[in-house]
Subunit: 440 residues, 2 copies
């Protein structure tokens, strides 16, 4: 009987296992997961900290019991894989019950990502990472006991934690290296809007680099000053978790595991999927690394399909990102303008501000749209939206457009729906597109 082993029970590992199970009902499938949770994703941690829900089991899409009973997938939680012998096809590990060993015919590496760290001095008992839901209960208890909290890093996690903590009345100091928040998600025009908004609730320190953190997390030393706080959240991004395999498996230039479009590594029977795995950017055709749950799930689905004997190719990524801060939703897809230039495109862009509803319909929200296209080919390269409602769907639409190489004019002709209660007859996206068409 064939055996599939997955190392890591997050989104990608469980998605791969579930898909393989559907296609091969008799396969032996074992998932090793180092924490107590499976099919988990960190996206919910800020909302847990905010107090929007209290049951940590809700972090899991399905429980280990569900996978065991409904899908006959053996889930070994609290089991850390310590070594993989790729030549003999054996996984070694440790659980509470002792050492484990498992042979495989197919392997899925789905070890996810780990938070990037900052040099610290004098311990780390007040340094926090909002990374794994298995630690969310303790994280929340600790954070709730503090008054002034520093967040290092003004990316997606940083502003989501700022939203959560200011909402529950904490004093937040947000220290960010760049000149505006979310600079790896959106460009200056829209980033400034969010930076101003966050600054109403939190002390935002821009253009400032943390040099070290002392007193276990209570003293932050930057290139511009010192901050005395009760605790510090590090939110400077994540890195592919490849420690276990990095000397044995081929990595890509992003540092994540290199795979072909079947999600196969340099070992034919070894697949990799999720936040530890490199992909290809559909626009630039260059290696890309997009550590978000929907991509992880689909990578897992593709790996599981191929293991299950149904050939499937992963087409690459367009780097869709979406977050929110209080009344604003913030989304992007494709390349930012500088990124586009860096990749040899000649970007042109239009940024417009509008409203989300017909001029006569009450409670319209502000919406800001930036569209980036290539001057030579007229292809859409990127879209960024900050607004009060219906941001996600517009970003999703632009994701579809960018994936298939829509031009400016193609996008103009997308037959977007019009309902006065929720949109404008000339949709803000189309208004931006029209600006790009103006001089034609």
């Amino acid at each position: 009987m064939e055996t599939l082993v997955a190392v890591g029970g997050g989104a990608a590992g469980m998605s791969a296992s579930s898909r393989a199970r559907r296609l091969k009902p008799d396969m032996e499938i074992v998932v090793f997961e180092s924490t107590k949770m499976v099919s988990h994703a960190p996206c919910g941690i800020p909302y847990f900290v905010e107090g929007l829900f209290n049951d940590e089991n809700l972090f899991m899409t399905y429980t280990p019991q569900f996978f065991e009973e409904k899908r006959k997938i053996h889930v070994k939680t609290n089991t850390k894989v310590t070594e993989i012998d790729f030549d003999s096809r054996i996984v070694y590990g440790e659980s509470r019950e002792g050492k484990i060993k498992a042979e495989y015919d197919y392997l899925v590496i789905s070890t996810g990502a780990i938070p990037r760290k900052i040099p610290v001095e004098d311990g780390n008992d007040r340094i926090f990472y909002a990374h794994h839901p298995a630690n969310a209960v303790e994280l929340r208890e600790r954070l709730w006991s503090l008054n002034t909290i520093a967040i290092v890093g003004g990316g997606i996690l940083g502003i989501e934690m700022a939203e959560a903590l200011t909402h529950i009345g904490k004093k937040v100091i947000l220290i960010h290296r760049s000149k505006y928040l979310l600079n790896k998600t959106i460009d200056t025009e829209l980033g400034n809007i969010i930076t101003q908004r966050v600054s109403k609730d939190a002390e935002v320190r821009l253009n400032e680099s943390v040099e070290t953190i002392k007193e276990g997390g209570r003293l932050i030393v930057t290139d511009k000053g010192k901050y005395q706080v009760d605790g510090t959240i590090i939110a400077i991004g994540v890195a592919p978790n490849v420690e276990l395999v990095k000397d044995k498996i081929k990595l890509g230039e992003t540092g994540a595991i290199k795979v072909d479009d079947h999600m196969r590594t340099n070992y034919r029977e070894v697949y990799s999927a999720g936040d530890n795995t490199e992909s290809v950017n559909i626009i630039t055709k260059k290696p890309a690394w997009v550590p978000f749950a929907p991509v992880a799930n689909k990578m897992g689905y593709v790996a599981g399909s191929n293991i299950g004997g149904h050939e499937m190719r992963f087409p690459g990524v367009v780097n869709t990102q979406i977050t929110k801060y209080k009344e604003f939703y913030i989304g992007r897809v494709g390349l930012q303008e500088d990124e586009a230039r860096l990749h040899g495109f000649k970007p042109i862009s239009a940024t417009i501000s509008g409203k989300t509803r017909a001029r006569y319909y009450p409670d319209a929200k502000d919406i800001h749209v930036k569209i980036i296209a290539d001057e030579n080919t007229k292809r859409i390269l990127g879209a960024q939206i900050v607004g009060g409602e219906e941001v996600l769907g517009r970003i999703d639409m632009m994701a579809a457009a960018i994936m298939k190489g829509f031009t400016i004019e193609d996008t103009f002709f997308i037959e977007m729906g019009y309902l006065p209660a929720i949109s404008r007859v000339w949709d803000p996206v189309i208004v931006a597109i029209r600006q790009l068409m103006k001089d034609e």
Copy 2:
């Protein structure tokens, strides 16, 4: 000097004129509009009746003064065109000041649509059409003075008027010919959800045809019974308004004016755009007629571009529709399942019910998604969504997908964003798509 004349100052006429003006700054441009309003659309009438706004000028995107002053477009309101001499290129009409006559080099016919009617006996003083914003003030005054109101027709306008009238406490009897409401927008599975919802507020009579209306609108006689009401709204759809030109200009099989992809009629210098104009369905490649404001605007834009010397082609329509009823948004794009069969496709479909937010995020709404694809080519043929939030954007995304011939698998790989506050890691659309992929 060249002269452009537009007959009809709605969305299409003003869009064509504005685009031509931008491209030809010196052109003489005159718009004849039979009512007092321009760049109007009827979409807002139900909300005006509901009392969500009170200023009728808000129906206009821009006022006649704006066009006159900012765009140097001569807008002649309250001016009815009575005849067009296509050989001599002269438009004749009547205004309050007397007869008018205008020669043209280019003509845009943008006469819009008119409501379909029902045979009546004994006058029509209590029969209402919620069609033109120029009559909205009077319409609202009349409706507000009545208690029990019948609506004939359970399409988009019918349910929007039902929403408005039940919201302000009127007793509504909604009489519909088909077995569920919105049957020309969505299929049975989703249509039943809306039908049940509307039935909570209004008396919904299905499978019932109106034979005549008597007593000026106070007695409705159907094939199943009689209803005594205070007034009747007719909402059984619209027809292309081609009375003025039908004997002189080539019409298409839908009854609307036939144009090429430049929006040109059988006269080289005569264009047609908007609800009076036929288009092509991108999926079936057959003639189609989609009388909605965004399409009208884009048709006008294309006509104006071509008149202005910038060649542009209208790619056709995918029939995007969106409406709402109380807490539900209702959208569709592409073909319904029966429509697909009728056009020679072999439709397969998946209908799923889900939630709009991560399982741990509060206040998730219900959402129901139906996706239709062709079994042979795997192309997506249609999408229908009924749900509590973010319906429009998903429909817009599917509009983009359908326009460019996305397959089931292409759609699976659209990198939809995931934010727990407003979506699911496996988006409901992707869940439906996965069902369609299941047996592959």
